[in-house]
């Protein structure tokens, strides 16, 4: 089969972890279907990135142009359309990330190729691939069949990156002319941290959709404070404005590695799990026995958090006195 290409994702000069995860997935798939693994780096003067990638792929296609310095789908897309049309890879992997999801769909349309989102597994089949992915908030898995050539947006943190022993040559490739842009990158903005930095906490109580109402948060906050924990939340709680953005745990918020993480009413969307799975001990309380959070928890309780928390607080209070 033709090659498997991986689009290198980099931000502010650093190659992002998901790139190495995709490389690892591409190598495993490539050895199954006899395909060469190629890294595609779009950037401008990205020397450090090239040295990091040398052992990861059989070939590196380096497209250097001032327009490609910062991610911008409008500059990336024509370069990739031209490259993929010339080289005819069997599969192009891009990250299912803030950058990748801005690029993948329009790129697939421009190429006329099928696109599978948020992929967590690859299998070669006659004429193409079967890709697995989560659906219905991670409660079900789906196998999607896409004929080659195809584009896949690969879920972050779902493949383990690893060492490889290639000695890739860097091939400079000319993107040609860019069309007149209709979008313009201005800058990256960091969210200001004004209060607690949850990334530094030893004990975190995380709350999710299961808290149901804002008024239910006060007793949980009181419990968290009584055990010296900081209160954090998953996306629905932050979106509702019940807790500030700076205490959001997950891929679009903060990544935390506390000694103990107590997840209350958090179902465990993969974006949340990506932000807390490194905790030493994870304890989850959820009414739904099938909640994905139990797949990463060390201890689990299937029950109503609003009943468990007061009982837990009083047990601990008794033990203290």
């Amino acid at each position: 089969m033709n090659s498997i290409m991986v689009l290198v994702e980099h931000r502010q000069g650093a190659v992002r972890d998901v790139t190495f995860e995709m490389m690892s997935a591409a190598r495993a798939l490539g050895s199954e279907c006899g395909s060469k693994v190629e890294a595609v780096l779009l950037g401008h003067g990205s020397d450090d990135a090239l040295s990091q990638l040398r052992e990861q792929a059989e070939n590196i296609v380096f497209v250097s142009h001032p327009n490609l310095k910062d991610f911008n789908y409008e500059a990336y897309q024509p370069a990739l359309v031209k490259l993929c049309t010339e080289r005819k890879p069997a599969l192009l992997m891009v990250a299912h990330s803030g950058f990748g999801t801005d690029l993948g769909p329009s790129l697939a349309v421009a190429l006329g190729w099928p696109l599978v989102s948020d992929v967590t597994g690859f299998r070669p089949v006659t004429g193409g691939f079967v890709m697995s992915r989560g659906m219905y908030s991670g409660k079900l898995c789906a196998d999607w069949r896409a004929p080659a050539p195809a584009v896949a947006m690969v879920r972050q943190s779902s493949f383990r990156s690893g060492p490889a022993e290639f000695k890739a040559e860097t091939e400079l490739w000319d993107p040609g002319q860019f069309p007149e842009p209709r979008t313009r990158f201005i800058r990256l903005e960091e969210l200001p941290t004004t209060g607690v930095d949850i990334a530094k906490a030893d004990v975190i109580v995380g709350i999710g959709r299961g808290v149901r109402e804002e008024k239910n948060i006060a007793p949980i906050r009181e419990f968290a404070e009584s055990i010296g924990a900081v209160l954090a939340g998953s996306r629905p709680v932050i979106d509702a404005g019940w807790l500030p953005k700076e205490v959001q745990v997950g891929s679009s918020g903060k990544t935390v590695k506390p000694k103990v993480y107590i997840a209350l009413g958090i179902s465990g969307a993969f974006q949340h799990i990506a932000g807390m799975k490194g905790a030493d001990t994870i304890i989850a309380v959820n009414k739904d026995p099938n909640a994905p959070i139990f797949s990463v928890a060390h201890f689990g309780i299937v029950d109503d958090l609003h009943k468990v928390v007061p009982l837990l607080a009083s047990r601990l209070r008794e033990a203290r006195s």
Partner: protein, 253 residues
């Protein structure tokens, strides 16, 4: 300014048990509650905010069955001027890019300055329709937008990236934006609004292009649980007592 908002009716599976039906490619949905897709609700709110700011006209568009009209009526009740349903009969088994093609077929015959969609549908989780629709129309786009500021002929948007970073960029009109949750607070419809919306007409349309998907869903299944979690059993009180013990063993009191 003409603004269209693409909305989808989805099953609320956040706290429900989800089962696969006999075809193996769909879910058993008769016991599930249906609602507007969460990110689409934020897209609608952004459109209504623009309407209040600039005097825009907001049209809702859905691709779905008759039952999806409840989502359109809720949007009309909140202040949208018109609503269109494109019937989805014959579109089952297609992929998100096929839905984008159906929408593009519809929008080619309409004049519109801005199309908003949700950044992700909670059922399929694909995040494809907005940017794919833009490409099919030959328009620019921005995905995962949490804030937008209109100015002459363009918008300044903030896109959500990983790790709490925002990408600030400018996008010329006409364009398609896919809206992420959390950037605004979706309003509730008033009782009066709901009453008025009940009798409002909903334009019926059929797909002007019929498209098969390029990828196919072959199998839906319950993921194998690799859970090593030790589940604490007993009464709620016993569970709480065991949990208190676990915390004390870890120096938390």
């Amino acid at each position: 300014m003409e603004i269209a908002v693409c909305v989808k009716r989805v099953p609320d599976t956040s706290e429900a048990e989800v089962r696969v039906d006999a075809t193996g490619r769909d879910i058993v949905s008769d016991k599930l509650a249906f609602t507007i897709n969460e990110a689409d609700n934020y897209a609608l709110e952004e459109a209504l905010l623009l309407k209040e700011k600039l005097g825009a006209n907001v049209t809702l568009v859905t691709v779905g069955p008759k039952a999806a009209e409840e989502v359109l009526r809720m949007g009309l009740a909140k202040g949208a001027a018109a609503a269109v349903r494109i019937d989805d009969a014959g579109l089952s088994g297609t992929d998100s890019l096929a839905f984008a093609r159906v929408l593009a077929g519809f929008f080619r015959n309409r004049s519109c300055d801005l199309i908003l969609t949700g950044c992700i549908a909670s059922d399929d989780g694909c995040s494809q329709v907005g940017p794919a629709l833009a490409e099919l129309l030959g328009w620019p786009h921005a995905a995962y937008v949490v804030r937008l500021e209109p100015s002459e002929g363009k918008l300044e948007v903030r896109r959500e990236l990983e790790g709490g970073l925002l990408e600030v960029k400018e996008v010329k009109l006409p364009c398609v934006l896919s809206i992420q949750t959390g950037g605004c607070s979706p309003r509730y419809a008033s009782i009066m609004g709901i009453k008025r919306a009940a009798s409002r007409p909903i334009e019926q349309a059929s797909p002007v292009v019929h498209v098969a998907g390029l990828s196919q869903l072959v199998r839906l299944y319950v993921p194998e649980t690799t859970s090593a979690a030790q589940m604490l059993g007993g009464t709620t009180d016993e569970k709480a007592a065991r949990l208190a013990e676990l915390l004390r063993e870890r120096g938390i009191q």
